[in-house]
Amino acid sequence: MWRSAWPLLAIVSLTGSATSVSAEFRPRYGGALMLELHDVLTLTDPGDWPAPLAGLVYDRLVELDDRGRPQPGLASAWTHDSENKRWQFTIRPGAKFQDGSPITAASVRASLKSWSDVEISGEDTILIQTEKPSPDIPIELAGVRNAILHRGSDGVTIGSGPFRITEWQAGRHAVFAANEDYWGGRPFLDTVELTMGRPLRDQLIDLELGKADLVELSLDQARGAAQRGMRTWRSLPLELMALVFEPGHRVVEDTRLRRAVALAIDRAAILNVLLEKQGEPAGALLPQWMTGWAFLFPATRDLGRARDSAALIQPVPRLSLTYVPSDPLSRSIAERIALNAREAGVVIQVLPDAKADMRIARVRLRSHDSAQSLADIAAALGLPQLIRPDGGTLETLYAAEQKVLADFRVVPLFYLPATYGLSARVRNWQPAPGGNWRLENVWLEARVP
C-alpha cells in the first residue's frame, strides 16, 4: 500500500519573516495597498481578468471556501430538489450594485445570459432547471465568468464587490476604492492601486524598496526572496504547462513519434532541477486537487518504450519546438525536453517564437469546476470541445480527458503554482488557495511612533 499523504492545504505556503513591530491586533482601516502585475488588464469583461482580481469588483452568487466548498455570496441561500435538477437561489436582501441600483432576480438573470435555463421565480429568487442532474451548479456559479454585473451607459461593467474602479489608465494604472456600502462590510483598505505591465524584475525591486505591497514572483525569484527572509505566498498548482503537437504539421501526424517524445520526458528531473520542486508533474490535464483522479495518468518517464516507439519510425524526422521568448522557464524546459528526446532517438530543435511542430503552452485555470476547466483547456490549446461545459458524470469527464491524452497530441508536463511577494505591512493575508485574494479582509499595519 502506498500513500501520498497529499497534504492539500500544505501546498499553499506562506514563508519568510512576517515579523512586525506594530502591536495592534484589531484590523486597522485605511491606506492604499500597492499591487503590481505583469499582465495588462482591459476594462471589458471581468471574465478576462485574473480570478484573484475579479473578486475585487465583481461578486458571484456563490463563493468557494478554502476546501472548494460552496458558500453564500450574493445568493444568501439555495435549495435543490432530490435529483439536483431544479435549483432555487435567493438573492441577498439589500445587496446593491456599486452605482446604488438594487440587485434583483432580473439583474441576476441578465448577468447569467450564457445560461439558457435561468428563470425569475420571484423578486429576489431565481430558478435554474437542468435536464440532467447537476449537483455542481453552485461550484459553476462561483466561476469568474458568472460574475453578477450590469453595464452602465458607457458600456463599462459595474459590479457589487468590495471595491469599485475609480481610476483607469488603460494598460498602466488603476485605482480601486473601498465600496462603502458593500453588503459584506466596507473593506479595511481605502484603495488598491494597481500598476499593470510591470516586468517581474521591476516588481521585485519595488517590493524590496517598499514601493509595492503585493507583487508577482517567478519561481526562482520566490526561492531567492524566501531565502532573504521576505514574505512569499504560493497558491495551489493552478497553471498547466503542456507540450502541444501542432495539428496540420505532417511530421507529427505519426502517433509513434508523439508517443516517443512523450514517454522520453523526464518530469521528475525537470521538477527537481529547473522548477526546484515547486509545482507537480502532470500526467493529466486537470490537477489532482481538482479531480482526485489525476494519479490515473502516469507522469513517469519510460525511456525503453520511448526508444521502442521511435525505432518503429525510419527515418525519424527532425522536429522543432517553440516557446514564448519572454518566458525563460518555458525555454529551459523546452531545451530539457530536447535533451530527453535525443536519448530516445528523436532530434528536436528549440526555437523562440517560431512556427514549429510543437510548442510549450501554459494555461491558467480560472475555475474549480472540472468540466469548465476542461473546456477552458481545450479552448486554450486549440482542441475540439471535449465535453459539454454543463459536465457529466465523473466517469465521462475522466473518459474525455483520457481520450484527448491517448493520442499524445497534448502532453501535460507540470502544474505550477502562482507565487507572490508581500510587504511586511500587509496583514490578514488569507487568500483562498485556489484564487480569490480576499483583499477586503486585508489591512495595512501602521508604524508605531
Binding site: 506594530s22 484590523p27 482601516y29 479595511f188 482526485g292
Partner: protein, 406 residues
C-alpha cells in the same frame, strides 16, 4: 504457509485491530451508502459476479486505520454482491481500488482489468465536516457558548425569584436570550437588529444589562429593551458607549459608526469633554489603588491616563483589546490583554498589573486556538472574551476570571 482463507481471516483481524487501536478512525457507517453505490458500479462494469483479485491503495491523507475501515466495508459489500475476493491469477479479474482525494472531496477509484479491457469507475465521497471541539475548561477560562456567526458580546444575568439563570448574546444578526435548562443553555427568544446599512467589517458591539433590561451599543445604533415578559428592542441612532472605572466614574466614548474604533472624543459624568487619540478599546483599572484609564490606540500604543484623563504614560506591545477586572489576588486589579497579531493567528490573553504607571505581567497567559475578536469587562472578577475557532470558523464566548494561587 498460510493459505488464502486463513490469510484473509488474519488480514481482517489485523485491519480490525488497526481500527480498534485508532480512536480517530472514521466510523465505517460513514461510508456505507457510498460503498454500496461504488460496489454496484464495479459489479456493473465487471459484467459478471466472478471472483476478483483485489488490491487496495491509499492516495489520500486518511490514516491507515481509516482506510482499513473503508476496505473492510468495501469487501463486505463485494461479498454481499456475491463477488469473492481471491489471490491474483493468470486469467482472473483484477480490481484495484484507490482512495484518492481532491480539494473538496474524497474520490474512490476502481480500475477493473479483464484481459485487455480496463474500466474505471469512481465514487465521490464527501469529506466529514470537522467536529467542533470544546476547549479545555479551567477556572480561569470557561467556554460559555459557541455559534457559527460572530458574537460581539455576552452578559450573564443573575437569576431572580421565579426565574432561572439567563444570558444575553449579541451578534451580527440580533440579540438572543438564553435560559439555563440545567442541561445547558437553550435559546428562548431572539430579536433581530434592523440596521439600514451593512455592518462595518470587524463588527464591534457592547452590552450593558440589569436583571430586567439591557442596552446594546453597536456601530451607529444604540438599542435597548426589556427581557420580560418578552424580549423587546427599540433602536435609535448612534450614541456614546459607556465605560466604568473601578471608582464608579463613567466615561462616554464616541464610536465611529463606519469603522471599528472610537474617535477619541470622551465625555465625563461631570460634563467635561476630552479629545484623545483614536482608540480600539478603553478600560478602567487601578494603579496601586488609584483609578486610572487605559486606552488601546489605533496606532498600536497603549496609553495610561489618570481619572481626570491626564496622560501618565504609554507603551507598545499590547494587543488592541483589554479588560480590567477586580480580584482578590495581587494588587487586586488586573488588566487582561490580547496579544498582537492578526485574524489568521492563534491568540492569547495575558494578565498585567499597573504599578507606578508601568505594566507588569502576572501569571501565565491563557491561549486560544484562534484570534480573540472581543474582550469586555463584565464587572467584578469577570470578563468575557470571544474567540474564533480557526478550524471550524465558529465563535466561542469564554468567561474569564482571575483565580489566586494558580
Amino acid at each position: 504457509m498460510v493459505g488464502p482463507p486463513f490469510r484473509s481471516f488474519f488480514l481482517n483481524v489485523f485491519f480490525l485491530l488497526l481500527i480498534l487501536t485508532d480512536v480517530s478512525a472514521l466510523p465505517s457507517q460513514t461510508f456505507d451508502a457510498a460503498a454500496r453505490s461504488f460496489v454496484r458500479k464495479i459489479v456493473t462494469v465487471m459484467q459478471t459476479r466472478g471472483p476478483v483479485a483485489l488490491s487496495f491503495r491509499n492516495a489520500s491523507a486518511l490514516t491507515s486505520a481509516e482506510t482499513a475501515a473503508i476496505r473492510l466495508t468495501l469487501e463486505r459489500e463485494l461479498r454481499g454482491q456475491d463477488v469473492a475476493i481471491v489471490e491474483p491469477g493468470p486469467n482472473g479479474i483484477e480490481l484495484t481500488i484507490t482512495i484518492a482525494e481532491s480539494l473538496s472531496h474524497y474520490l474512490w477509484v476502481a480500475e477493473v482489468r479483464r484481459g485487455e479491457a480496463n474500466d474505471v469507475v469512481m465514487e465521490e465521497v464527501a469529506r466529514p465536516q470537522p467536529t467542533k471541539s470544546v476547549l479545555p475548561i479551567s477556572i480561569e477560562k470557561r467556554p460559555v457558548i459557541e455559534q457559527d456567526h460572530p458574537i460581539v458580546d455576552i452578559r450573564l444575568l443573575e437569576p431572580d425569584a421565579g426565574h432561572t439563570s439567563a444570558m444575553l448574546v449579541l451578534d451580527s444578526l440580533g440579540l438572543s436570550l438564553y435560559e439555563d435548562t440545567g442541561a445547558g443553555w437553550k435559546q428562548t427568544q431572539t430579536v433581530a437588529i434592523q440596521s439600514s446599512k451593512p455592518w462595518p467589517r470587524d463588527l464591534r458591539g457592547f452590552l450593558s444589562s440589569s436583571r430586567d433590561s439591557y442596552s446594546a451599543y453597536l456601530p451607529g445604533l444604540v438599542c435597548s429593551g426589556v427581557l420580560r415578559p418578552a424580549l423587546s428592542m427599540q433602536c435609535k441612532g448612534e450614541g456614546p458607549w459607556p465605560f466604568y472605572s473601578p471608582a464608579h466614574q463613567i466615561a462616554r466614548a464616541d464610536f465611529v459608526s463606519t469603522r471599528n474604533f472610537f474617535s477619541g472624543r470622551l465625555a465625563n459624568d461631570n460634563g467635561s469633554q476630552k479629545r484623545l487619540p483614536s482608540f480600539f478599546t478603553m478600560t478602567g483599572a487601578r494603579d496601586r489603588g488609584r483609578a486610572v484609564w487605559l486606552f488601546a490606540g489605533t496606532d498600536g500604543r497603549t496609553r495610561l491616563y489618570n481619572i481626570d484623563l491626564e496622560p501618565m504614560g504609554s507603551w507598545a506591545g499590547w494587543g488592541s483589546d483589554m479588560a480590567a477586572i477586580e480580584s482578590q489576588c495581587g494588587s487586586r486589579s488586573q488588566v487582561l490583554v490580547t496579544q498582537p497579531g492578526d485574524a489568521s493567528a492563534a491568540d492569547s490573553i495575558q494578565a498585567y498589573e499597573i504599578l507606578d504607571g508601568s505594566p507588569q505581567p502576572v501569571g501565565d497567559a491563557v491561549t486560544f486556538s484562534g484570534p480573540v475578536t472581543a474582550l469586555w469587562t463584565a464587572g467584578g472578577n469577570t470578563a468575557f472574551a470571544i474567540a474564533q475557532d480557526l478550524r471550524t470558523g465558529g465563535y466561542v464566548a469564554f468567561s474569564l476570571a482571575i483565580a489566586c494561587n494558580r
